[in-house]
Amino acid sequence: MVRYVTRRLIQMVFLFLVFLTVTWFLLYILPGDSVALKYAGNPNIPPEAREVALERLGLDKPVLIQFRDYMFNFFQGDLGVSFNQYPRPVVDIIAERLPRTLVLFLAALVTYYWAGFLAGKYLAWRRGNRGEMLVTIGGVGLYSMFLPWFAFMMIWLFSVLLDWLPLSKFLDPEQWRDAPFRANQVFMRLFWVTLIASVALFASGFIARQTRSRRLGRTLRWGGGALAVGGFFFYWYGVDSGQVMRVYAGDIGFHMILPVLVLTLINFAGVMLLTRSSMLETLREDYILTARAKGLPERVVRDRHAARTALLPVATSLVLAVATVIDGGVITEAVFSWPGMGEILVSSVLSEDIPLAVGAFSFIGILALIGHFVVDILYGVLDPRIRVTEHG
């Protein structure tokens, strides 16, 4: 196991190096450079100014030297400074954008996976039902909806026609006037509090599964759940820091509803169909027949036996999707005025801001690599069969 993990890690590092190199050079060979693009529109800037700018950004050095310097700094934790927002360090910019993107897209991801999984489960279970074709076609229709257009229609519906939800942005400036926090602090707090609550939930469930005694297990499961949810609310209502921040967190949450809804509608069908396939395969397994023969209620057969095993590929794809949340946001972030990593990705590439673009790309790469790695580990947790094959 240790050897396997080590080998995987070495492979990952190597792969990452190659990825970094390819991205860097790909961006480098783009026509023009950051300075040319920036100054092309301003005839009042004399040529000398361009040279000054090039020198300042280090773009006057030979390619290989630039690359060597970049890599050297990269592995010392210095991602350089953005060309376009000179002299702002890339790390700063990413730190500013990442929390927003993470919170929005993780919330959307969890929601649409949850919705998709439920829908898929029922679709497989009630196979041949009249609704099946309707739901499938409707789901696929939504799935292939042209995202920007659909998003605008939803904004129009919910924010203009019904006037239930805010138009766009992630906060209401007038409410945030003189806020004691920066939005990122709130995003981070939201992220951590929710993460801790979820981990507590998951852990209590996991421990409950390990216990021999059923009663203890049930107590643990529900107790842990209640504690996690209770803790979550206690934090926002009982703890001073949470109370103060609650209004702001609520505002952000309120602004999140529409993008999460849109992303859910667009994406749930993919998960639904994956779950359906996976579940249909599971339903053909002998142990489903065993479970039925044991006289278990249908609900237990469906949820405990069929869906639990069918969860495997769904969970895998969830983890891989987590790894891609950053680049999924290009359109959504623009439409909902939610400037995050997706916006960075596009704008840095278009303005040939190499350090920022490579920084953002490498972040995505690292997330994806970790995602793949976690999938392997997760598979072991979810499917006991894998655990052993790994040993052997």
Partner: protein
């Protein structure tokens, strides 16, 4: 065609536990109606063991699943009844049927590996059955006490219950399956190919143990197998199925020594005998019929060396041949004695 219940004198005096009477079950498929079980009747008493043999696809598993009403959703019961202690299982509501399952009739599935859900521990899966069938529910202590007893009964270390199915060997898994089948104290166990995937030594051990358990607990067991040898070893009564029909029925001893249906004969002859008189193994030519459009008359006639014109048109009824032997063949007398060379 009228259905006739077969009087079974072999185990006379015992109350009939299970009586299957004229069971007809068909599958609706897009290609048409598949006649999977055609007018099958038999009965089984308490403590008896019976075997159903036949080639793959002959409908024996369909019969077994019918007893639990677990046939796939496209199955339709045309006629007939499955009487369990006089009550027709086919008439029960889903909820009532669920209560019957495992508590009265349990099943040992073929391919024990696949019968286990890979993501739960063995113990959990057995406990689950007990949780749903004991009223009032068993206490935690009682459950684990029972569990230990079950594992001891099938010759497994009780510690095995905390392992995952894939961590067990084939034999252990099969024993655990038997333990699971016994967990709710059923009266009948259906053993569907209980030993197919195992090596011969383990196979023998398990069959031996099953037999012992049956005797100890006074269970009835319905064995389902394509393996004549297995059936011969452990059953009192045997039914031979071909293409959805029961073609021969009788005491195991009679059928084995003097099969009166050509199919039984050929099936038995195809097994080389180690102990008996040396004979040329006979091969069964051709393939089983397409059940979408079964042949008219006797379903075996296309492959039968003794088929006559009558066989092609008229379906033979079950006819009593001996005191405890029935066969559905117009020409049962023509079937040679075992050991005789074929003409």
């Amino acid at each position: 065609m009228t259905s006739r219940r077969l009087p079974l004198e072999i185990s006379a005096g015992q109350a009939r536990l299970l009586e299957v009477d004229g069971l007809v079950m068909r599958y609706d498929t897009e290609a048409g109606e598949v006649s999977a079980v055609e007018n099958v009747s038999f009965s089984l008493g308490r403590g008896e063991s019976m075997g159903l043999v036949g080639e793959s696809g002959c409908g024996k598993t369909s019969v077994a699943l019918s007893l639990l009403r677990l046939a796939p959703e496209n199955a339709r019961y045309q006629s007939g009844s499955v009487l369990w202690e006089g009550m027709d299982l086919l008439e029960l509501s889903d909820q009532e049927m669920r209560e019957y399952r495992w508590a009265e009739i349990s099943m040992v599935f073929q391919g024990a590996m696949n019968a286990w859900n890979p993501v739960y521990r063995v113990g959990e899966q057995i406990r689950e059955a007990m949780d749903h069938h004991f009223d009032p529910p068993l206490s935690t202590v009682e459950t684990s006490r029972r569990m230990d007893r079950l594992f001891n009964l099938v010759g497994l270390d009780p510690a095995v219950q905390n392992r995952y199915p894939h961590e067990l060997s084939g034999g252990m898994r099969q024993r655990a399956v038997i333990a699971m089948a016994l967990s709710c104290e059923p009266k009948l166990i259906i053993a569907d190919e209980p030993t197919t995937a195992l090596d011969v030594i383990v196979q023998a051990q398990i069959l031996e143990e099953l037999k012992e358990i049956q005797e100890d607990l006074g269970l009835s067991i319905l064995y389902i197998s394509h393996d004549m040898a297995v059936i011969a070893q452990v059953t009192d009564i045997i039914g031979v199925m071909y293409a959805g029909k029961l073609v021969e029925f009788g005491s195991t001893r009679d059928v084995f020594h003097g099969p009166r249906h050509p199919y039984s004969y050929l099936l038995l002859s195809s097994i080389p005998s180690v102990t008996g008189p040396r004979r040329r193994p006979v091969s069964l030519e051709g393939t089983p019929p397409n059940l979408l459009a079964p042949p008219a008359g006797c379903r075996f006639h296309p492959r039968c060396p003794w088929a006559t014109e009558q066989c092609r048109t008229d379906e033979p009824p079950m006819m009593q041949i001996g005191p405890s032997q029935w066969a559905a063949c117009w020409n049962s007398e023509q079937v040679p004695e075992m050991g005789e060379q074929l003409p």
